[in-house]
């Protein structure tokens, strides 16, 4: 068969491609001091930078297709590409600076062998007759769904087929929004992970952004502050159809207590609302708080739970997560939400990568779980170091105990200004609290993902700056 028009780039081979650089000997994530002047990690893989929002010089031709007005409501790029853009601009300005990233919550430590070897094996199996597999079930592989259930939801009345495996919580949030449609109202914690608000805007659930209050119209922002223990005053919260709730919380690190979640479930029940409960950081919990919303009686009738392997297994690039939609969760006409979620999953998605799923299954083996807990323990160690540093400098510090994020208060200051000051003076990237909503103003989120040496060095620089 003649080849048509396809051109080979013969220079793309594993020897010349940093992307495919052969692995060297296994280096564990031990706490030995790491050289913080490691070359940049972004060897040909660079984190997205926000493209400028303003239109380019008008071209000669424009289609007649109106831009989606919802897209027009978004104020800026998504938060984390913005942080990346500033980080990259800073690196360009100071090419010799040793920039340390405690901004985007990106895992840094190698994935335990027991997990990667199962993914390797799966890849190799795809080259064999017996081991080749094509399309998987869109809802995920049965064995993985069962393992997720028995690991995280044992004795909580959740069935294997209530669990939908995905390519990550962020993607699931958008798929849930597609299920809900534009005619629902929603509430978020303030501050909160920006994907809830942004996906709501894109879906058309919100009105315009109100610059005076820095909020989108038609979203209920439930203020979560040190004053209210980072749990909203539900007696003052109007009813919305959907309530996004993240615990342990990104960015504040707050973990809701059993008593608080019981009130939340009651609130949802009384109001006929649906809670979308984000438990992506549950395994970082030190205290005795619920790890799943389904630990609360009655939650199956009012809640969906979404979670992820990203921060447990270092799967931020591998892409694997899940969402639980209990059979008991019904729309106002009695129609099961799971049926519509299933339809969206079958139509708008085609399943998580079977290789990632093989990794997920290994994560949930006894050996895999043990290994994951060690990595999580390592990041928690980082968190303690960061908390101690800011505490010793006299800052009011929140979070950290139950999540890999430290939420530091800079009263009266603009969080983007603090972000810029820290970046300029210490070459450390953080995330400005206002990026998570107006309730985040005056705070900075410091994430605890990083090599131990980098975290120690960053803290040394914080101490110099704020002594």
């Amino acid at each position: 068969m003649p080849l048509h028009q396809f051109h080979f780039n013969a220079s793309i081979s594993s020897s010349s491609s940093p992307f495919l650089a052969p692995p060297s000997a296994f280096n564990s994530f031990s706490s030995r001091h790491q050289n913080f002047s490691l070359p940049p990690r972004d060897l040909g893989i660079c984190r997205c930078v926000a493209t400028p929002q303003e239109a380019k010089t008008p071209t000669a031709y424009k289609t007649n297709v109106s831009r989606n007005a919802n897209m027009g409501k978004l104020q800026a790029g998504y938060l984390f590409p913005e942080v990346a853009r500033r980080r990259n601009a800073h690196k360009e300005k100071y090419p010799d600076a040793q920039v340390i990233s405690l901004g985007i919550g990106d895992t840094t430590e190698p994935i335990p062998d027991v997990i990667t070897s199962s993914m390797s094996k799966k890849c190799q199996a795809l080259s064999t007759l017996e081991g080749y597999s094509g399309y998987g079930a869109e809802q995920g592989e049965k064995s993985l769904r069962a393992a997720i259930r028995s690991t995280f939801y044992a004795d909580l009345g959740i069935d294997d087929d209530d669990i939908f495996v995905s390519d990550g919580a962020k993607c699931d949030i958008s798929r849930l929004q597609v299920v809900f449609g534009s005619n629902v109202t929603m509430a978020v914690q303030d501050p909160s992970y920006p994907a809830y608000v942004d996906s709501s805007v894109i879906m058309g659930q919100t009105g315009q952004f109100q610059t005076d209050v820095e909020k989108y119209a038609n979203i209920e922002y439930m203020n979560c502050t040190p004053e209210n223990g980072f749990f909203p005053d539900l007696s003052k919260s109007p009813r919305t159809d959907i309530i996004f709730f993240c615990s342990p919380n990104n960015p504040t690190g707050a973990a809701a207590t059993r008593e608080q979640l019981t009130r939340l479930v009651q609130f949802a029940k009384d109001n006929g609302s649906i809670i979308v409960y984000d438990s992506a950081y549950a395994l970082y919990m030190s205290d005795d708080n619920p790890r799943s919303i389904f630990e609360i009686p009655g939650a199956r009738e009012v809640a969906i739970e979404t979670s992820s392997f990203s921060k447990y297994a270092g799967f931020t690039g591998v892409r694997l997560g899940w969402t639980v939609v209990p059979k008991e969760l019904l729309f106002s006409d009695g129609f099961p939400v799971a049926r519509d979620f299933n339809r969206v999953v079958c139509t708008c998605f085609n399943g998580a990568s079977t290789v990632a799923q093989a990794g997920g299954l290994a994560c949930l083996s006894p050996e895999g779980l043990k290994a994951m807990h060690e990595v999580i323990g390592f990041y928690k160690g980082n968190t303690e170091i960061i908390m101690d540093t800011f505490n010793s400098l006299g800052f009011k510090v929140y979070g950290g105990r139950n999540a890999p994020y430290v939420w530091v208060h800079f009263p009266g200051r603009s969080s983007w200004d603090v972000f810029a000051e820290i970046l300029e003076k210490t070459h450390v990237v953080t995330t400005p609290g206002s990026g998570f909503g107006p309730g985040g103003e005056g705070f900075v989120r410091v994430s605890a993902f990083g090599h131990r040496g980098n975290v120690l060095e960053a803290c040394k620089r914080f101490r110099q700056l704020y002594k």
């Binding site: 534009s182 892409r319 729309f331």
Partner: protein
């Protein structure tokens, strides 16, 4: 125990997953059930049935339950069956192992995809048409990209689809709220424009009779008909889009199956950059149906009516609603586009094309009119005057072959059956034998 002669060497989860069995979800109207006050999304109510391919799985499963000893041949869902070349999987395996090392560990990748892979895609598939790396967005597959494009376009745009067409365009259009209500008699959604494609018009719509819409979904080589649009036809399409200010969403997932001189990319047509996006996939090209990898090209020239570049909004959706394709899949993609890797995946494509030839020959010998099969891994078989589900049932009952009824792809598919050419050679040969036995 089922004795299966199916083309997957392992049983697909699709067959037995209760999530696919909609009949297991009854609506329990017990008094103690709590109903939330959240209204169901009216758009989802407009989809009367499940998505087409899980429905086919369901029928397959039911058939196996009733005939446990049947040696079923699956030529329904277009699922690849042949192993991925070693050169590709070994790179993927190495990359996965590398994640356990300090040097090889990678966290979040760019949402738009790995730089090298974007470059390789641009250079492999779009070298002569000047598509830039920055216009290539790597994804977890075309079906997912279609949904993201719909999210981007929103509910207020109008859309047209070929009839028949890959059901993902229509179903996502309904879900996002573009399509209006279903007319149960005609099987058409009120606000969608259906562009009939049949033997009578050489599988290309009569654009003079086609109403203009904001978006035109166009797949070539086509799923399900197998027709590859000619250069002349695509020039007409681009002109039509330009005259009407429309955006073409061009699905080129089967471009590597083209045998003749038909264009492999819409961007071969001058002016297309101002009117089209192109989606494609490694699924049928590299056997990555489970690995999950694809891409979308959004030219920087493509603008909304207010001059705003579509690429900015697509980038925003990709950054907000997605987090990039799996880095292991991307490592595999890069290996596919190396010279050795490309050679390897090409042999698989040729294998499936030979399968298609076998099926075409068999049907020709029976004097059954069959289309496609030369530029795509699908054969589109005409059964004049017959109901396509009835033909599907008959072939399943009498020959134990799963196909896909044409009406699943739109009302224009009635009287047709899609037979996919993915399968082990012996299954295809056996299927050809059974068809000859059935119809001669």
């Amino acid at each position: 125990m089922y004795k299966l002669l199916i083309c997957n060497s392992t049983l697909s989860d699709k067959l037995f997953d209760p999530g696919c069995l909609h009949t297991s979800f009854g609506i329990r109207k017990e008094k103690k059930d709590h109903y939330t006050n959240v209204p169901r999304n009216a758009n989802l109510e407009k989809l009367p049935k499940g998505y087409l391919f899980p429905e086919i799985s369901l029928r397959q499963h039911q058939h196996l339950e009733q005939h446990p000893d049947a040696s079923l041949i699956s030529l329904g869902i277009g699922d690849t069956t042949e192993p991925v070349p070693d050169i590709v999987t070994s790179r993927m395996a190495d990359f996965a192992s590398g994640l356990s090392t300090l040097e090889g560990y990678r966290g979040y990748g760019a949402e738009q995809g790995n730089k090298e892979l974007r470059k390789a895609i641009a250079e492999t598939f779009y070298k002569d048409v000047n598509v830039k790396d920055s216009e290539v967005f790597v994804s977890d597959g075309a079906q997912c990209d279609i949904a993201r494009l719909q999210l981007l376009l929103g509910s207020r745009v109008t859309a047209s689809v070929q009839d028949p067409s890959f059901p993902g365009y229509i179903d996502t259009s309904v879900i996002i709220g573009q399509a209006g209500d279903l007319d149960h008699e005609t099987g058409r959604y009120h606000r969608l424009e259906y562009m009939k494609c049949g033997p009578e018009n050489k599988f290309f719509p009569d654009l003079r009779r086609t109403s203009s819409t904001d978006v035109i979904f166009f797949c070539s080589p086509n799923n399900p008909t197998g027709h590859a649009a000619t250069r002349q036809q695509l020039e007409q399409l681009v002109k039509f889009a330009k005259d009407n200010g429309s955006i073409i969403v061009f699905d080129s997932a089967y471009a590597t199956y083209i045998s003749d001189d038909s264009p492999r990319s819409i961007f071969e047509i001058p002016g297309a950059k101002e009117v089209a996006v192109e989606i494609s996939s490694f699924s049928k090209f590299a056997g990555f149906t489970g690995v999950r990898l694809g891409w979308t090209v959004v030219p920087s020239e493509l603008c909304f009516s207010n001059g705003f570049p579509v690429i900015h909004d697509f980038n925003r959706v990709v950054c907000t609603c997605f987090n990039g394709a799996s880095n292991i899949a991307q490592a595999g993609g890069l290996a596919c586009l190396s010279s050795e890797g490309f050679e390897g995946v090409r042999t698989r494509v040729n294998y499936y094309k030979e399968n298609a030839e076998i099926l075409l020959d068999a049907l020709a010998s029976l004097n059954i009119k069959a289309y496609g099969g030369q530029n795509a891994p699908y054969v589109w078989v005409h059964f004049p005057g017959m109901n396509s589900w009835e033909v599907f049932d008959m072939i399943l009952e009498k020959a134990n072959i799963i196909t896909v009824p044409g009406c699943g792809f739109g009302p224009g598919g009635e009287e047709f059956l899609r037979i996919s050419a993915f399968g082990h050679r012996e299954s295809i040969l056996e299927a050809a034998r059974r068809l000859k036995a059935l119809f001669s």
